[in-house]
Amino acid sequence: MVDVSRQGVEITLTVNGRKHRAQVEPRLLLADFLRRRLGLTGTHLGCEQGVCGSCTVVVNGETVRSCLLFAAQMDGYEVETIEGLSDDPDLLHPVQQAFWDHHGLQCGFCTPGMVLTARAFLEENPEPSTPEIREALAGNICRCTGYMFIVNAVKAAAETMARKVPDGKSS
């Protein structure tokens, strides 16, 4: 038997600045909605248990684990994924640029979650110490790098971002 019904909850949400309306099964995870329905595959699933941080996205300005949320909960919310940061390799966000410059990634699987977590952290704490950076990233597991170059990248990104005046232009 083939079930082609799309019954479910109707939601309206904004993803990376674009408004979407969708019918979603109540049990559909936000991560699967972003990946399968919107094709935003930069959000990765590393554990589906809310521990590893690979599926981190930003919902109404807060970093969250998209493997622990249902799409149906997102009605009226604004979601940002890694694809929202830059669509031009020559115009990367300072955090992305710093990860590139400081070898802050290897296999790249945890990278979108790391970058989004680091960006949110630097917005709250623009002049962090090394232990503060390590603490801020403690909910994101990287299996490749041993973290040191990630920490260096976040430090460098903080310096780049500090050189920019609040309206976003370089001082």
Binding site: D3, E48, Q49, V51, E83, H103, G108, I141, R143, C144
Partner: protein
């Protein structure tokens, strides 16, 4: 006028060219590939470690809405051959590993049936409706239980529960023990853990019944080896099997196997004529992605009064779980131990007995630094024990035993030929970098304040890009590259290996750029598609920079020769008189600008009339590189830790590394590999353990109870380099992917033991050093049971 010469890129800290797609969320991992009409598979897994399968009823699952197909083990009979991966050894017992268990399950988590459905949610619902009737059998949850005389035999026709037994001896150990100043005996255990990449396993199979071509996309390190075994299992011609490894989210060894699930998914795709996708979840990964590292060693060491180790005798037992896995066999770790146990030391009398025991646990596979971490632990614990017995400094005892630079090439007592290394130099350098005497002084002061600080020191040598000329079903001592220059003068390089974090799109391009003297942005590195590349082996065993790098060097060297020959002809010069400089073929010393590489390429492809009739119009070459006996990297490390006597927690205060991996292609990438390797080694030494209970049930199936080190657990690593160029290859490069992971077990065991010393003497011999174990060692020390 001389054209500007491009600086050498071998050795340059070039930023990785592959990074933007990862940073922007645009990489394509297995789960990101979307094929039209794809359906999802979910597996039914055994809840028992050991049981007979009485019946499997798929009818309810097949009747569920959205379920499209289902298979169980009996459906495979006559259609799919089980994997048989045998070591070539008198002490080997053969066994079969079916894609789905047929009449018996041998580990909790073994795949019993598979459901394909509209999507993964529905497939998992369907899997829950499969009714399997089991008759539980006695679970053999440890090597000890499996070797009891009354234990049931795990495989048909076996005499006992050994996959493999072997031995090796060299010199005259009995004599050495008889004349020794002292003899020490000890045991060590490194419990089960694994590579655990952040991306789990997964695959998509698609079958074209008209062309009779099966395509498997798989998160694998070894696409060619998968293709060969899939063709055998499914009875297909190998030229009609295509394996594609897309971006892979971490390998570390666990993704260097043929997974039984992949075979079942291929069969589903052939049956349903739909693409079938399987993406495991983390619980499946912990249960069924092959585990590693479960070694038990007994060692006996004879030493002289001056600290020289005269003889080593060892017994190695590896708990290899239920099945022998393709392509490594269950002899992987125990077989390797026979040869690598003596390590970097001048030990001339040696005896080792080794065995792979079959148990009712997840099968055992490859993990970064196969067998090396446990063997490094044993030989380094031996050095520390000798130092303690003689009241010597652990650095001094190593200096007296290490092979000296002038002794290379050195044939070890086990028959390995070490090409060259900088063992004593690396130890002296790491002592200088760490200010070892100063560190001892700081430790003394800390102890005076009641703080338990300890120091560990380790030196190791590591065979990289190894050859296995005897015993293994596949000898992986070479790899391949095709270099093709297009009419615009840009190069496309197709590698037989893969890259899943190691940065080969950058490092191999650096090698080719030097050969062809063109900028890196004119070079594209491709890999991971068996239909597109020459026969290759894959990426594991610290081999790719050496072997694929060597192959790319050789192939681009051939293309360079073609360019010189054609350029010379066009300029009416003798080929001996021309050279390739700055992307141009010029007459040596003529001061002329010569011909651009693109000009020669365009002439070759589009104006064959300019050349003698019969000259090939193709500027491409296939190259290989064969490492022979492999090439040997080495390193020394020093760690300073502090142990909390109340909680048993171990904090790493300083971690110093001096690494020698020959000529470095890209020091930044080398450092990244070392950091990552050490981090995984620290995980195995302090945190990570796959714990089975007596029933053979895995108790650690999530990241809540299997602890992977995070940024707050790991220190800043202080890395410096020595460069002893490899005499084995054309580039002087040695492998570095695994080295970092080798030493942390030994070094942290030593450091924790040293930290506890003010409480009392104890021999730290069991890892990981979880708080519970550390507190037990502290208790033993306090009670004088050391």
């Amino acid at each position: 006028m001389n054209h500007r010469k491009q600086p050498k890129l071998l050795g340059a800290r070039v930023r990785r060219v592959e990074d933007p797609r990862f940073l922007m969320g645009k990489a394509r991992y297995i789960e990101d590939i979307e094929l039209p009409g794809v359906i999802d598979a979910a597996f039914v897994r055994s809840p028992f470690a050991h049981a007979e399968i009485l019946s499997v009823d798929l009818s309810e699952a097949l009747a569920a809405p959205g379920v499209i197909a289902a298979l169980h083990g009996q459906d495979l009979l006559g259609r799919v051959k089980p994997t048989v991966c045998d070591a070539i050894s008198d002490g080997w017992q053969s066994s079969e590993f079916p894609a789905l268990a047929i009449d018996r399950v041998r580990y909790a988590g073994e795949a019993v049936a598979v459901i394909a459905a509209d999507n993964r949610y529905v497939a998992e619902d369907g899997a829950a409706l499969v009714d399997v009737d089991y008759r539980p059998l006695t679970p053999l949850a440890s090597a000890e239980a499996a070797l009891e005389p009354t234990a049931p035999l795990l495989h048909e026709g076996w005499k006992d529960n050994h996959f493999y037994r072997d031995r090796l001896a060299g010199g005259d150990p009995d004599h050495a023990f008889s004349i020794a100043h002292g003899i020490l005996e000890f045991e060590v255990a490194t419990h089960r853990h694994g590579g655990i990449p952040m991306e789990g396993r997964g695959c998509i199979a698609s079958y074209d019944p008209i062309e009779r071509v099966l395509t498997l996309w798989s998160a694998t390190q070894i696409p060619h080896l998968i293709r060969s075994e899939l063709a055998i299992c499914l009875g297909l011609h190998e030229n009609r099997v295509r394996v594609i490894a897309p971006d892979v989210g971490g390998g570390f060894g666990p993704k260097s196997h043929l997974n039984p699930e992949e075979v079942a998914v291929c069969l589903l795709a052939m049956d349903t004529r739909r693409p079938v996708r399987w993406i495991e979840d983390r619980r499946e990964h912990m249960l069924a992605c092959f585990h590693s590292r479960e070694h038990y060693h007994k060692a006996k060491v004879a030493y002289a009064e001056d600290g020289r180790v005269l003889a080593l005798s060892a017994e190695v037992t590896v708990d290899c779980g239920a099945y022998s896995v393709y392509p490594w066999t269950a002899a992987l770790d125990p077989g390797m131990s026979l040869f690598i146990m003596p390590g970097p030391y001048r030990i001339r009398n040696f005896r080792c007995e080794t065995s792979a025991v079959a148990t009712n646990k997840c099968p055992y596979g490859a993990y970064r630094g196969v067998a090396r971490s446990a063997n490094c632990l044993t030989i380094e614990r031996a050095m520390d024990a000798v130092a303690d017995a003689l009241g010597m400094d652990p650095v001094e005892v190593r200096l007296r035993n290490l092979i000296r630079s002038e002794e290379f090439p050195y044939t070890s007592v086990s028959g390995f030929v070490y090409d060259n290394a900088s063992l004593i130099e690396s130890l002296k350098q790491v002592c200088a970098e760490a200010d070892y005497p100063g560190m001892r002084e700081r430790q003394r002061i800390a102890r005076g304040e009641g703080r338990l600080q300890g120091i560990g020191v380790v030196t190791f040598i590591e065979q990289t890009a190894p050859a296995v000329d005897e015993g293994a079903p596949i000898n992986f001592r070479y790899d391949s590259a095709i270099v093709r220059l297009d009419p615009s003068g840009c190069a496309t390089v197709q590698l037989g290996t893969h890259s899943h974090g190691q940065g080969h799109e950058t490092t191999i391009a650096q090698i080719v750029a030097d050969q062809l003297t063109i900028p890196m942005d004119r070079i594209r590195i491709l890999y991971g598609d068996t239909q597109q590349t020459a026969q290759g082996i894959g990426t594991f065993a610290s081999r790719t920079a050496v072997l694929a790098g060597g192959a790319a060097h050789n192939a681009s060297g051939q293309v360079k020769d073609m360019l010189l020959e054609r350029g010379a002809h066009l300029m009416e010069a003798a080929v001996e008189d021309v050279e390739l400089v700055g992307g141009r073929v010029t007459v040596r010393g003529s001061g002329t600008r010569g011909l651009s590489l693109a000009g020669v390429a365009r002439a070759t492809y589009y104006h064959p009339e300019l050349f003698p009739f019969g000259w090939s119009p193709l500027l491409e070459a296939a190259g290989t590189f064969d490492s022979g006996h492999g090439t040997y990297s080495n390193a020394s490390q020093i760690v300073l830790v502090e142990v909390d006597p109340e909680t048993g927690a171990v904090k790493i205060l300083e971690y110093h590394i001096v690494e020698d991996c020959g000529r470095m292609i890209n020091p930044t990438i080398v450092e990244g590999q070392i950091h990552g390797g050490v981090a995984q080694g620290i995980g195995g030494a302090l945190y990570e353990e796959l714990i089975y209970n007596d029933e053979g049930q895995l108790m650690t199936t999530s990241f809540m109870d299997y602890l992977i080190p995070g940024p707050t657990e790991l220190p800043d690593f202080r890395v410096s380099h020595l460069e002893t160029p490899s005499p084995t290859g054309p580039t002087g490069v040695k492998g570095v992917g695994e080295g970092g992971a080798v030493a942390p077990y030994a070094i942290l065991a030593a450091a924790v033991q040293d930290a506890i010393r003010p409480i009392g003497n104890v021999f730290v011999n069991e890892l990981p050093l979880t708080p519970e174990r550390v507190l037990r060692f502290i208790d033993q020390a306090a009670n004088g049971h050391g």
